[in-house]
Amino acid sequence: MIEIKDIYKSFGENEVLRGISATFKPGLNNLIIGGSGSGKTTVLKCIVGLHEPTKGDVFYDGENFTEMSFRERVPVRKQIGMLFQNSALFDSMTVEQNIMFPLNLFTDMPKSEKLDRANFCLKRVNLEGKNKLFPAELSGGMKKRVGIARAISMQPKYLFVDEPNSGLDPLTSILIDNLINEITEEFNTTTVIVTHDMNSVMGIGDHVVFLNNGEKWWEGSKSEIAHTNNKELNEFVFASKFMRAARAKL
């Protein structure tokens, strides 16, 4: 379980986050949604330690991550898998080397076992046989799937996903969402997804946190979104005619 308590984050004079608190439970897809510039990615980066919060704390299973030193954070980080918006695959490495990279660095597994793990992860994301390709040879959707394979190679307890659907066609987006959902259920990971894709929200949003102008505006599940009276959330989620029509039929 991950808990964030009263997180504030400023960049110079610009206060991006103002007192965000939330709890993300294992086995659920926890979605952080909000418009562009609402602070979604900044929250995520504060949780994983890429940004240090100006104020507030992040707890991983009760342990205060914010107060830990770099060395103390390493054991926690070994349990973290993250998929970045642009996949962030290492360009100079093949798909297989990308997936095996954390295994090479942090485990003493024999090479055959690492290869088996890499093949298992690739099979899990339906990319069998793509081991020797370089990231430049992959499509956007394939890169995302390799990113997921790399993220799960260390069998993480916590999975973070930043904008999994950006730049993908609707069909591939659904495939990626389903894959994340399956992995969350299969490995019982605490999954935190930052998105502004409404298909993802309505499809896999077990727990949704809505941010607006750096503040938490609403929290609930996908089924509650359709019936909420929160004006800002309604304007955000049901901005399109299609979504309004879909809501009317509910």
Binding site: R73, N86, N104, L105
Partner: protein
Amino acid sequence: MFHTLGRYLILLRLSFKKPEKFSVYWTEVMREMNSQGIGSLGIICIISVFIGAVATVQVAFQLSSPLVAQSIAGSISRDSTILEFSPTISALVLAGRVGSSIASQIGTMRVTEQIDALEIMGVNTPGYLISPKIISGVSMIPLLTIISVVLGLSGGYIACIVSRDISPTDYIIGLRDNFNPIIVVVCCVKSIAFGFIITSVCAYFGFYTSGGALEVGQSATKGVVFSCIWILFADLIVTSLLL
């Protein structure tokens, strides 16, 4: 300026922290050695031969007097090639070739979140990305400089055969005349210092890149420019201290 210097020193300290796994870092060192050393061999060979030849022809021209022994041109050409031309000009060329590659590679990794991905895994990113490059730089650049010296002196010999300003025999006599081994030590010390400057300064600018493709280009340019300035400064310091 003090802020930049402080950040540079902190980055260097982080770069030489104990590695997570020695074998992974060693693989990176080998890869960098191949990239920096073998990858730069061609350009170093070409410039060294020409610089040696030009230096010999010019010295021969300036000393064309019946009162000066022709072999002196060989001695002057040898000393200037070993002390200055090979280490410094090679380093300036390598700042462009190796330095810009390091800054843009690390800068691109920064803006495409690859460094963030490493940090989230718990990797000491300065150690993993920068230390193999510095280790490779301080070992391969001196080797390239030694090759450059040999080829520079050979270039001088070729120039003697082609131009006939001085005879090849006089040139060889000049090369062997009054040879003081300290100049080779100075040459090696300079090249080690230059190797460190090129790799660490360019890695610094790459590591602290923020923005996009434009900023990656700017980081590479800054890295090369600052490396060149520091190379010339270090050249003066080493020369003053050792000669």
